[in-house]
């Protein structure tokens, strides 16, 4: 273990942490440097993760023991394809969001709070990365809590009463969720005697035989606990307010990353710890499948009724989380791949849409969809990019949303449940119904002042991330090969156990 590459997971988490706690001090004396530091940390970490990926590709996945203590005593990090994949998404997307945040923050957050904004953001990134790598219930609990507090604070930092209210609602509900998670961990610990995921998985078979009630109750509590945090359909009530009222960069990171990381953790626990026997004993996967389908349809229907653009995007997130859960609970390899690919694709699309909506609000102050007639004449680049995101969401071939939907549909077919293809088709239709009118209005509407297409008046720091995300959407729609290769390995890991 003398190769320094093996330390990369820890280094990635630590650099984010160091950045988070350097930001307030640095921001006091050199305000200009804070943003620069934050914008440097994420890409550098992404680069490190790519190096780690190469290393794992050459050898095999391994576990990293904190302090050199082996599992029964120490805390382990699992360095596998799933973790690296998720961590890569986190750092790439947050790098783009941080680029965008530079100018957008001035409109939404008080100047002296900027340094604290970066602190919270980097803390959130560190906690999410740690969650992706965690191989230990103890770590999962601790970092879930850190991520929750940081996410709530990222909403409440905007001094408006809607934000504070939404943040409070989020806080209370996710505390209930954390309580359930802790109770579930206690029940699992009670019968298996370990916190380490591998050791728990080894003891799970015997424990499930001797104490089936404990295992079932803990499974239910875990699903509810992480379901609240990842806004699984009937438990999503906090999400629309929180995601729509937050500052735009916060909305993007909350909707694009935070919600999904809890889904990943839940899925990792269910598939690797509980394993096939427990899942076979009760129709857990089928139940999640049905809940996810309801989430997809209901989220889209709710979104259809919205008049506020950010609220619409927030409800769309509820539907898209349904896709992720659906893909993975199909329990076929292509289905799992579909769910995992959708994590990446949705992170790109939703970040893009929230940032574009944020740019519109930043520039014009318009939030109502009916006011957006002819907005493309004033902001052509933003609206062109928004259209790319909207078309991806609908799942037009050639954009990345299509790839994940295709895999989901194939997965449903493979799993012998072709009914769910219908759900996917229907939701695509609904997505089209609420996304395309915005695009059509913006380009063809005549409400705004007549005239030629003007140049966007956005600063470069806001246009550039938007364009990058738009190009990425198209690139991964046309050439998804390398992405799919990585996802296939991650899915293998989940299914194999």
């Amino acid at each position: 273990m003398n190769d320094p590459t093996v330390h990369i997971p820890v280094i990635v988490i630590c650099t984010s942490l160091i950045g988070a706690f350097l930001a307030p001090v640095l921001g006091k004396y050199r305000p200009a440097l804070v943003g620069l530091m934050a914008r440097l940390i994420a890409p550098v970490n992404a680069l490190l993760l790519v190096i780690l990926l190469r290393y794992v590709d050459a050898g095999e996945t391994f576990h990293y023991y904190m302090g050199g203590w082996a599992p029964p005593w120490g805390i382990a990090l699992s360095v596998d394809y799933l973790a690296i994949y998720v961590a890569l998404i986190i750092h790439l997307v947050s790098a783009v969001i941080l680029l965008y945040a530079k100018d957008d923050l001035f409109g939404e957050v008080r100047g002296d709070l900027h340094r604290w904004y970066y602190t919270l953001f980097l803390l959130l990134v560190a906690a999410m990365t740690a969650l992706a790598f965690s191989h230990d219930f103890f770590n999962i609990f601790v970092f879930t809590e850190i991520a929750t507090i940081a996410a709530c604070a990222l909403i409440a930092i905007k001094p408006k009463k809607e934000c504070i209210e939404a943040s409070f609602k989020y806080l209370i509900l996710s505390t209930v969720g954390s309580g359930f998670i802790l109770l579930a961990l206690a029940l699992i610990y009670m019968v298996t005697g370990h916190f380490n995921l591998t050791l728990v998985a080894q003891n799970m078979g015997a424990a499930a035989e001797a104490y089936p009630l404990n295992i079932m109750v803990s499974l239910a509590l875990l699903i509810v606990g992480f379901g609240v945090k990842s806004a699984l359909f009937p438990l999503h009530v906090w999400l629309p307010d929180a995601h729509s009222s937050a500052p735009s960069p916060s909305s993007a990171v909350l909707s694009g990353l935070v919600v999904k990381i809890y889904a990943v953790v839940l899925i990792r626990i269910i598939l690797t710890v509980f394993g096939g026997e427990v899942l076979a004993a009760a129709p857990i996967a089928d139940m999640i499948l049905i809940i996810a389908s309801v989430a997809i349809i209901a989220g889209s229907l709710f979104a259809l009724a919205q008049t506020d653009i950010k609220l619409l995007l927030a409800f769309s997130t509820v539907a898209q989380v349904g896709y992720i859960y659906m893909g993975i609970s199909l329990l076929s390899e292509t289905g799992t791949m579909g769910g995992l690919v959708h994590i990446f694709n949705h992170a790109l699309m939703k970040t893009l849409l929230f940032l574009a909506a944020g740019a519109i609000i930043h520039q014009t102050g318009l939030r109502k969809i009916s006011d957006l007639d002819g907005i493309a004449k004033r902001m052509p680049i933003t609206m062109a990019v928004f259209s790319v995101g909207a078309l991806s969401m609908v799942g037009i071939p050639g954009f990345n949303g299509f790839i994940s939907k295709m895999y989901l549909a194939t997965g449903a077919f493979d799993a012998g449940k072709p009914v769910f293809i219908l759900v996917i088709l229907m939701s695509s239709l609904l997505n089209g119904l609420y996304y395309l009118p915005i695009v059509v209005r913006a380009f063809l509407g005549t409400n705004a002042e007549e005239g030629k297409f003007a140049k966007d008046e956005l600063p470069l720091s806001m246009t550039f991330p938007l364009v990058i995300l738009g190009l990425a959407c198209i690139y991964f729609g046309l050439l998804p090969g390398s992405l799919l290769e990585l996802v296939r390995k991650a899915a293998h890991y989940l299914i194999a156990v």
């Binding site: 320094p4 820890v10 942490l17 160091i18 706690f21 307030p24 001090v25 050199g68």
Partner: protein, 141 residues
């Protein structure tokens, strides 16, 4: 609250509370307690001071700038000590023997556990104080 008796007793009591807090912190690896409990006790002494005099006095005693610096640097110390182990070729937070480790039961047996709990204790004390002054004073939290 200009009560002479309270103020005098607080003046007398504060060092004892603080010494107890520091004792709990540095003995964290030998006896119950540790950075968290000790840090809270340490912070409570300053809160007692703030309650008997006034919040402004406590803010003068422990200004915001100092609090920010202390909080950030204590976390940084923790992380850097962990990263130092990587530099020495071991895993993160490995207790490498750069600190003296005499026989069991004496104070510095924990290797770098003692400096780490010290960092935690300082951080917690500082956080408790700033929480209080920010909630009680007129400043925004």
């Amino acid at each position: 609250m200009d009560d002479l008796v309270l103020q005098t007793i607080t003046r007398i009591l504060m060092p004892f509370i603080q010494v107890y807090g520091i004792f709990v912190i540095v003995n964290g690896h030998l006896s119950p307690g540790g950075g968290f409990a000790g840090g809270t006790i340490l912070g409570a002494s300053v809160i007692l001071y703030a309650l008997t005099f006034n919040v402004g006095a406590a803010e003068d005693l422990y200004p915001d700038d100092l609090a920010e610096a202390v909080e950030s640097s204590s976390v940084l110390i923790f992380v850097l000590v962990g990263l130092f182990a990587i530099l020495m070729g071991a895993n993160f937070l490995t207790n490498i023997g750069i600190f003296p480790s005499p026989e069991t039961g004496t104070l510095f047996t924990g290797g770098f556990v003692t400096p780490l709990t010290l960092a935690i204790g300082v951080k917690v004390a500082s956080t408790v104080i700033t929480l209080f002054t920010h909630l009680f004073g007129e400043k925004k939290p």
